[in-house]
């Protein structure tokens, strides 16, 4: 009995010791701030009060009645809808191309991947220039199209779309890498036997490639959706969330609430909402989807 316990303790103790460093860091920089945010979200702590006042769920109620929060949340949903499927489809096509490229494989991969390598701030500066009225490439193109001056980032109707286009450009290369890895897992003889049976290339993609890269697709979907809620740096460079919150996203609004409006309680409540949302999305990976996916 005793020896079994000792045995267990030794084995488990060793395991715990191994994960201790990561646990420390996770605890300090992930779990503790999360719990602290959750705790803080129950208080009114802003410029109007000197010491925090306990208000329970009032901050969460106020969020529902905050038109800006609702708008920012909706923006973020549209941002996800706009960026995720398109950048994934593009990534898939690029991966097929990079996988099959006869010559210059490395070059093709680098060309597709490079947008992901440059820092977001630099990319935002470049695109800011492309959208600049009068002399930006895209602005010129749009005004040639409509026949009048177009200020893509200065118009609430076009600003989010403009940022979505940029994000797709930046993201697709990153997802391509995952798809490339996925494609290389597929046994070549499947394609050979399909060819022998006289099945066309397109059918092969539909029947073989897409089903067999499903695990990659699932993984990338989760990463892409969570990313869509984490984009923030380009907003500083390009729009500051404007005009009139038309391009503001959740994380940027949390930042604004914390540092521009000094409203710690509300910002904490929004943070909690965001964490819950990201957890729910991540859970998809472990939930029902897994079983529907054909692995081998």
């Amino acid at each position: 009995m005793n020896t079994r316990w000792n045995e267990k303790l030794r084995r488990n103790g060793f395991g715990w010791a191994l994960v201790l460093p990561s646990l420390l860091f996770l605890g300090m920089f992930t779990y503790y701030p999360m719990l602290k945010s959750a705790w803080l979200s129950l208080f009114e702590q802003n410029l109007a009060v000197r010491t925090p006042v306990f208000v329970g769920m009032d901050n969460y109620k106020a969020l529902l009645h905050d038109p800006v929060f609702v708008e920012v949340f909706r923006n973020n949903i549209w941002f996800a809808v706009g960026t995720v499927p398109v950048s994934m489809a593009l990534a898939f096509v690029m991966a097929l191309f990079a996988d099959k490229a006869i010559r210059g494989k490395g070059l093709v991969r680098i060309a597709f991947f490079y947008p992901n390598m440059i820092p977001m701030i630099a990319a935002a500066s470049i695109w800011l220039f492309l959208y600049m009225p009068q002399f930006g490439l895209f602005a010129r193109f749009a005004s040639w199209f409509t026949g009048s001056e177009v200020n893509l980032l200065g118009n609430p109707d076009t600003v989010l779309g403009s940022l979505i286009v940029m994000t797709v450009w930046k993201e697709a290369g990153y997802f391509m890498i995952f798809y490339l890895a996925g494609l290389q897992q597929i046994p070549k003889d499947l394609y050979e036997s399909a060819s022998v049976d006289g099945i066309g290339v397109l059918t092969q993609q539909l029947r073989i490639t897409i089903p067999l890269t499903m695990p990659t697709t699932l993984f990338v979907t989760v990463v892409a959706i969570t990313n869509a809620f984490k984009w923030v740096d380009h907003l500083w460079m390009m729009t500051k969330g404007g005009p009139d919150h038309a391009s503001s996203l959740l994380l940027y609004y949390i930042y604004e609430t914390t540092f521009s409006f000094n409203d710690q309680g509300m910002a904490a409540a929004m943070t909690v909402v965001m964490i819950v949302l990201l957890l729910v999305i991540s859970c998809f990976q472990f939930a029902g989807w897994e079983r529907k996916i054909h692995y081998q």
Binding site: L23, L26, Y32, L47, P133, E149, D244, N262
Partner: protein, 455 residues
């Protein structure tokens, strides 16, 4: 989860201890003004170093918001201060633009590690008071014979005061002026020595200048558009003291018929008279457009004078922002604040520093190297300033306009109140809402925010 939480707490405790130890002497954790904790640390320092007098070290945070090598200028001024006051050591820290600077300072205030002295927007006054971050300077001013507060321009002193106290010293100040391209004036058959003086002329000239692939006029509307709006609102007001906010920072007066007219005029420039690009014009792109000859005139901060002077390849003039019922322009820029959570010695040293940085010679040096307005009258009598303004008379326009200048929008929770107005103005500029609707919505939002401070 609980286990990890505990571990995290332990780890956090340990790191905090480490950080605390690393802070060095002279930074006692709790420094309630008037306690004697500081004396003991000073003793400890003396004992440690065997030197009769440790220099007092103060940190100084400052932002740079206009083009030009201003960090060099500020570092140079700090160095010359230390030569004059060998017992004070200043560490100047460049913190980015105004926004980044404010965030770093707030983070410091919350962590009980604020800078000792910092340049911040004049509009941060109420937020700094509400977070209990700064100290009033009345005692320093009263005790200090050589401060001479009447030498500062009244327009700049307005926003250093609240609730009967003075909280800051004017340092890096600006106002809105009209920049115009003289070559384009000639080409359009206008007299380059006669800039537009009122709204009618502004529209008329801008119409004539709107040709050859450049626009007549640009007024930026994306960043802090309330600032430009304040200018138009005052120009359109019958009351010489009209203001879009109450004196105590607890009230907003956005939605008035005259203000609606003022905003309508701004919209009309693009939509009715068609002399300005439509939509929201970018703050940073406006001076670039002017320098590159994409617009013949612009309304912008006087802080860009040096930038335009250095980079424009043509002869340009500056003028008062054109009047309608009266001239008017809000002031802008930053003041020097002294922080609460340090020691009395450091606060006294910070006051010495603030005084030095705004003394006539330094004010003249800073103004001539940046384009900001000299904050005090005597700065313009110094030799350096005379040389500068003789060679560049445009620099005097902003100063002369100060007689019509007034306090920039500043209220409790300035961030929220100003963005309520700014966002609605942007909506109106983008054609999403009319002038009356925009100001009504901005007023409602501001009232909602300020209600918390009127309990």
């Amino acid at each position: 989860m609980l286990k990890q939480g505990k571990m995290a707490l332990i780890a956090l405790g340990l790191t905090l201890m480490l950080v605390g130890c690393g802070q060095g002497g002279g930074n006692a954790a709790d420094t309630k003004v008037g306690t004697a904790t500081t004396a003991s640390t000073a003793d400890a320092n003396a004992a440690l170093d065997q030197t009769p007098k440790e220099p007092i070290e103060i940190s100084f945070y400052y932002p740079v918001n206009v083009g030009g090598p201003l960090t060099k200028v500020i570092d140079g001024m700090s160095t010359s201060f230390m030569e004059k006051f060998p017992d004070i050591k200043v560490k100047p820290v460049y913190t980015g633009n105004y926004g980044d600077n404010t965030i770093k300072i707030q983070a410091g205030v919350q962590a009980k590690q604020p800078p000792d002295v910092a340049v911040m927007m004049s509009t941060e006054l109420y937020s700094m008071m509400d977070t209990d971050a700064i100290i009033p300077l009345d005692d320093f001013i009263a005790k200090d014979a050589d401060y001479n507060k009447n030498d500062f321009y009244p327009a700049f002193v307005e926003d250093t005061q609240a609730d009967g106290h003075t909280y800051s010293v004017p340092f890096q100040r600006s106002t809105i002026i009209l920049y115009y391209n003289k070559d384009m004036f000639k080409a359009a058959g206008l007299d380059p020595s006669k800039p537009p003086t009122n709204w009618d002329e502004l529209v008329e000239y801008a119409g004539k200048l709107n040709r050859d692939g450049h626009t007549g006029l640009e007024i930026p509307g994306n960043d802090d558009s309330y600032w430009m709006f304040q200018m138009l609102a005052r120009q359109n007001a019958s009351d010489p003291k009209q203001s879009i906010m109450g004196d105590d920072g607890r009230k907003a007066n956005f939605n008035t018929p005259e203000n609606v007219e003022a905003l309508q005029f701004w919209l009309d420039l693009s939509h009715k008279y068609k002399v300005m690009p439509k939509g929201v014009i970018d703050w940073a792109a406006t001076p670039t457009d002017f320098i590159e000859g994409k617009t013949a005139m612009m309304m912008h901060t006087s802080g860009n004078l040096t930038n335009v002077k250095t980079n424009a390849k043509f002869d340009f003039g500056v003028a008062f922002a054109p009047a309608n019922k009266q001239y008017g322009s809000p002031t802008g820029g930053g003041n020097l604040y002294i922080f609460k959570d340090t020691t009395p010695e450091k606060q006294a040293a910070a006051w010495e520093f603030a005084k030095y940085m705004t003394a006539p010679e330094q004010a003249a040096l800073f103004s001539s190297s940046s384009g900001y307005v000299g904050v005090r009258k005597s700065a313009y009598d110094t030799e350096a300033m005379k040389v500068y303004t003789d060679g560049f008379p445009q620099a005097l326009v902003a100063r002369d306009q100060l007689q019509y200048a007034f306090r920039e929008l500043s209220t409790h929770n300035h961030g929220k109140v100003s963005s309520a107005l700014t966002n609605q103005i942007q909506s109106a500029l983008a054609g999403k809402i009319d002038a009356a609707g925009a100001l009504k919505a901005a007023q409602e939002e501001a009232d909602r925010v300020l209600a918390l401070f009127n309990k």
